[in-house]
Symmetry: C2
Subunit: 349 residues, 2 copies
């Protein structure tokens, strides 16, 4: 087993042969692969009564193995893992032979709920996402999860989950997310929402949403990446000059419009800005991961969270040229931290 574990490479794409046995007694090779839509019931923060809420989820990994909840940013979905015709938004981190090794754990992820899922609630809070997750765990008969690993908005929801359901989770890993949004980041997301509304009022919803995404991209990436990627001369066309960053950012905006709609964007963007968890209320051992070049979540806020956390908390800082999006790019650095923190039996390294 030691040799096998040693042979696993975090950076390699591990495809296992049929009948592969990871070789540890309590983690049979049998695979569990489920998913679906479950009706749960809770009272949203910005509503005055309980209601039924539909939660879309996916659970996959070694049968009966410990459960690791994996959640990403507001544009992520329940497909963190790769699958048939699914790339998996965190395929470099979660999967067979990866840092979150699905040969010795089961990964559970949900689609974010939004206002529309909450009936007439005024907004959707990170506590609502946490309540939906807890209710889903009840429905699936999972009493306690081995870990919650969340990035960006997923980290915020993880902090809300640890504050409101400490008995359900053994350890929390929060990457690029803090106990509250920074006021400058709030201002920039608020402007993004106003752009979406300006487009909608003027009859051009797609243009508004694409432009909002373009603005979001300037906050997700680092100054250095812009300097390195955008060095071409401006080109005059269609009555104005076009600058070197336009193809990159416009393509990102166009892709976003294809898979997202304005109402969902408004709800989840606002949810980030409403997020507020008192660090002292977090009673679960917590690992925080910050990214040096992240302009959305300043390291100072993670330091404050670490200092004030109600349970033991450690802060790791990784270097990246990708800013906030480092959580989607720095597989090797994040993988090393996760392998150590998760300590999955027989896991990689």
């Amino acid at each position: 087993m030691t040799l096998q574990a040693h042979a696993l490479d975090l950076a390699a794409s591990a495809v296992l042969p049929d009948g592969f046995d990871p070789g540890f007694a309590d983690s049979p090779a049998a695979r569990e692969c489920r998913g679906g839509e479950t009706l749960v019931r809770f009272t949203p923060k910005y509503a005055d009564a309980a209601r039924d809420v539909r939660v879309h989820w996916r659970l996959e990994g070694a049968a009966n193995a410990p459960v690791v909840v994996v959640q990403g940013g507001i544009s992520a979905d329940r497909n963190a893992l790769p699958g048939e015709n699914i790339e998996g938004w965190w395929h470099g981190i979660a999967g067979d032979g990866r840092a979150i090794d699905t040969r010795c754990c089961r990964v559970l992820s949900i689609d974010w709920i939004e206002c529309r899922d909450l009936g007439d609630a005024l907004a959707v809070d990170t506590r609502d996402q946490a309540a939906a997750l807890a209710a889903l765990l009840d429905a699936l008969g999972i009493e306690r999860i081995h870990a919650y690993v969340g990035s960006s908005y997923g980290a915020m929801v993880g902090l809300a989950f640890a504050a409101t359901h400490p008995q359900r989770v053994t350890r929390l890993v929060a990457i690029a997310g803090a106990h509250r949004a920074h006021p400058l980041s709030i201002a920039l997301r608020n402007i993004q929402r106003e752009i979406v509304r300006l487009g909608a009022r003027g009859g051009d919803r797609a243009a508004g949403l694409a432009l909002a995404r373009r603005l979001a991209m300037t906050t997700y990436r680092s100054e250095r990446e812009f300097a390195e990627r955008c060095s071409g001369e401006p080109v005059f066309a269609d009555g104005r000059f076009h600058f070197a960053e336009e193809p990159w950012l416009c393509a990102s905006g166009a892709r976003f419009v294809e898979r997202f709609d304005g109402e969902r964007y408004l709800a989840l963007s606002e949810s980030i800005d409403l997020h507020a968890v008192a660090p002292e209320s977090i009673r679960v051992p917590t690992t925080l991961v910050g990214i040096s070049s992240d302009r959305v979540v300043p390291l100072a806020d993670l330091c404050e969270l670490q200092r004030r956390c109600g349970a033991s908390a450690t802060l790791h800082v990784i270097e990246s040229r990708y800013g906030h999006d480092g959580f989607l790019k720095e597989d090797a650095q994040i993988g090393v931290i996760l392998v150590e923190v998760l300590a999955l039996a027989g896991g990689a390294r």
Copy 2:
């Protein structure tokens, strides 16, 4: 005279009694105060022939004293100095008894020209502003100016002026402006322009321009100022939550719409992004001033400009909580630098 000069306080509002004599022989107390509209002729960079261009200017200070050109950001005008019913956008720096002391120099400022002033030119370049200024100096019979002091866009135009008309200027002070715009700042201004266009296409020009200004404000000010100013709880009203920074930024947007129009904004914002001066082409002794918290003009770009400058160049860095807008706020720190660099006979300190 030494005593008098010593008694002047950069931070104080100096109002001189009638008949006050600054006390140095070659700078008579007689006042020169002129201004107007002058037709000049040059070939714009993005046009193929010369044309007549109207330049609005103001010249004020001690009669026959050396001329200091003072230019600010894209929203500044020819009124750097205070006057009747005029606050003067740089009244803390330029005026009687100030660092740019109008008792021993004359301050000349122009309104920025824009595309509309250039006939059918595709865009307005910082070199066009420099050409307009040089042509105006001809018209006013001023062969050589004692100094050009520019901030933000005004600093960029100063660099263009020093590169194209080195024989007209003895020293250049460029505050919070570099030889080119940073690609991330270009991306953010490009989005501001798209917001203006989105509003115009949807029939709401004012909303687009105000929102673009709101976005610009997030780049002008520092993360720290946002953290300090915007700590209130969100408030639900009119179907959505309102966040702590909204009153501040929306008021700024509303004021901007009252004094600016979209077309001028598009032209001058684009002009910043088109700006490109080879540092090696600058043949005038240059003083660069950077602001530690400036997110529009990173210090690294000013360091590169200093390193590559074709003449002697020094770089000062001032500390500020106001980010890029520090050039409008840090009168004391900027004043000390200007007094030393300008070395006006009998000037303050």
